[in-house]
């Protein structure tokens, strides 16, 4: 049962971290746009610097990815212990793995600095739509064992 609790808590916390990544990505895009357009509005003064937003984004995605990894491992393991199967081809499982893969790619891309700034911000926003779909969408539109919402 402990596995299931860790699985749930870590997964939810990882979503929260990805939410922080998403928000900092959106703020980054807004701030970047103001800088490129040479517009110093109220928003410009209130928002943090691009570098700061970028660091939040990196940190949030790193933490989120680590938590998601723990959540997934515990999920798979818990499933094996409780139900005797490692994997059920549940849509949520598939999506969660896809999510894990996407954030892995995003993390690697960001850490290796192949992409920076606006594009990373855009990707972290895109990643979060996948989070939303995995978290909320699945149980609405697809048959799943993880139907609790």
């Amino acid at each position: 049962m402990l596995m299931v609790i860790v699985h749930t808590v870590c997964s939810l916390l990882s979503y929260a971290a990805f939410l922080v990544g998403f928000v900092s990505g959106v703020l980054f895009l807004i701030q970047e746009r103001q800088l490129k357009r040479k517009h110093m509005g109220v928003l410009f003064r209130r928002l943090p610097a691009l570098g700061t937003l970028d660091r939040w984004n990196l940190l949030a995605i790193g933490i989120g990815f680590a938590l998601l990894t723990i959540g997934l491992v515990c999920g798979v393991w818990g499933s094996h212990r409780l139900l005797g199967v490692w994997w059920r081809w549940d849509p949520k499982e598939l999506l969660a793995v896809a999510l894990w893969g996407s954030y892995l790619v995003l993390w690697v891309v960001r850490a290796r600095a192949t992409l920076r700034g606006r594009k990373v911000a855009l990707l972290s926003i895109l990643g979060f739509t996948l989070v939303l779909f995995t978290f909320l969408g699945v149980s609405r539109w697809l048959p799943t064992w993880h139907a609790y919402l």
């Binding site: 701030q31 800088l35 490129k36 040479k38 110093m40 109220v42 410009f44 003064r45 928002l47 943090p48 610097a49 691009l50 570098g51 700061t52 600095a113 192949t114 992409l115 920076r116 700034g117 606006r118 594009k119």
Partner: protein, 355 residues
């Protein structure tokens, strides 16, 4: 009881006089002792900054106290009283209170709305407290003044404006990088505005400075002053790999940096953000460079546009500040009135002995 202020600021007297009037931190203990014992003030507070020296006091009679404070400042500065007197100003309440609130709000500052003065007022207040020089009245007065200073800045945005091309450039760089300390700066050309921007960047503690110029002597002189290295202008592209902020102010008739060049540089520096400030006329950098990802390019017109925009906003902010100021001063005055009346009543009803 009266709240008086006697002092001098950048408008009332030149720097030579302010230097003589200024109080160093190690003189404060003796100064506060003298104010208490020789000038006979129950409460006093010395505000000494590079732009002003003022003593606030809670005194029994305004005239006598003001005259004694002026003599005290004369003795402290060792200036001829005949010379010093006309350069001092004196306010009794309510104008002394309004004056302090204006000072705390940055409305009396050389650079309108600057924030440093609020810290200085706070520090002066803390020092006075530590020396046991303030009592109930000055405590409330300065807490309200600090509160008014904060409110003016928070509600009107008066401090957020910029005054010059240089400060706008710094603000933009800070909005890109945040804390500028870990970043490297490159200055191409040794023009006056370029140097001004470099000076401000260096005051923000940037970690590395490079100066590039056609003639190496000028570059070396400037680089030595700011603790950086000097190169010829031909090193520009190579040096850009390392710099985070590049200030261009050469008199070159053609652009020194093309879009293709900067694109190649960006690739080589792995897309680390680059802030380009082009002060040259004609421009030193092709304008389309600004369209590249992670490149932030500003030319002199962009900066000028932001200065003007701010000027208008600051004028509006000044009007808004005035309204807050009045409200805060009235707030204190009503407390003060209650306080003095309450005190008088207690005296008349025999609850406390008359002072």
């Amino acid at each position: 009881m009266h709240i008086v202020v006697v002092g001098a600021n950048y408008r009332s007297c030149p720097i030579e006089v302010r230097e003589r009037l200024a109080f160093q931190a190690d003189q404060l203990a003796a100064a506060y002792a003298a104010l208490r014992e020789h000038v006979g003030l129950a409460e006093s507070l010395i505000l000494s900054t590079c732009n002003r020296v003022e003593i606030y006091a809670n005194a029994t009679s305004p005239d006598g106290a003001a005259a004694r404070l002026a003599s005290f400042l004369g003795a402290h500065s060792r200036l001829d009283p005949q010379v010093l007197r006309p350069q001092l100003y004196t306010h009794a309440e309510p104008s002394s209170i309004e004056h302090l609130f204006r000072v705390a709000g940055g409305l009396d500052s050389m650079v309108l709305g600057e924030t440093e003065i609020l810290h200085q007022v706070k520090r002066a207040y803390e020092q006075a407290q530590r020396h046991g020089a303030t009592g109930k009245v000055l405590n409330v007065l300065f807490q309200k003044a600090l509160n008014a200073g904060k409110a003016i800045r928070a509600q009107t945005g008066i401090s957020r404006g910029c005054r010059s091309v240089g400060t706008v450039a710094i603000e933009l760089a800070q909005k890109i990088f945040g804390d500028l300390r870990p970043y490297a700066v490159l200055l191409a050309g040794t023009g006056k505005i370029g140097e001004l921007v470099l000076k401000r960047l260096s005051a923000r503690g940037v970690s590395r400075v490079r100066v590039l110029n056609r003639s190496l002597d000028r570059a070396q002189a400037l680089a030595a002053f700011y603790g950086g290295q000097a190169y010829g202008l031909e090193a520009l592209e190579g040096q850009l790999l390392d710099a985070d902020i590049a200030v261009m102010s050469t008199a070159s008739p053609t652009a020194l940096l093309s879009r293709a060049q900067v694109a190649a540089v960006m690739q080589a520096r792995r897309q680390r953000p680059l802030c380009l400030i082009d002060l040259g006329v004609p421009r030193n950098i092709e304008p389309s460079v600004g369209e590249l990802d992670n490149v932030y390019r500003f030319d002199i017109d962009d900066l000028q546009g932001l200065v003007d925009h701010n000027y208008e906003r600051r004028r509006q902010a000044l009007q808004a500040s005035q309204a807050i100021l009045e409200r805060k001063v009235n707030g204190f005055l009503s407390w003060w009135q209650e306080e003095t009346q309450g005190c008088a009543q207690r005296v008349s009803s025999g609850l406390v002995a008359a002072p």
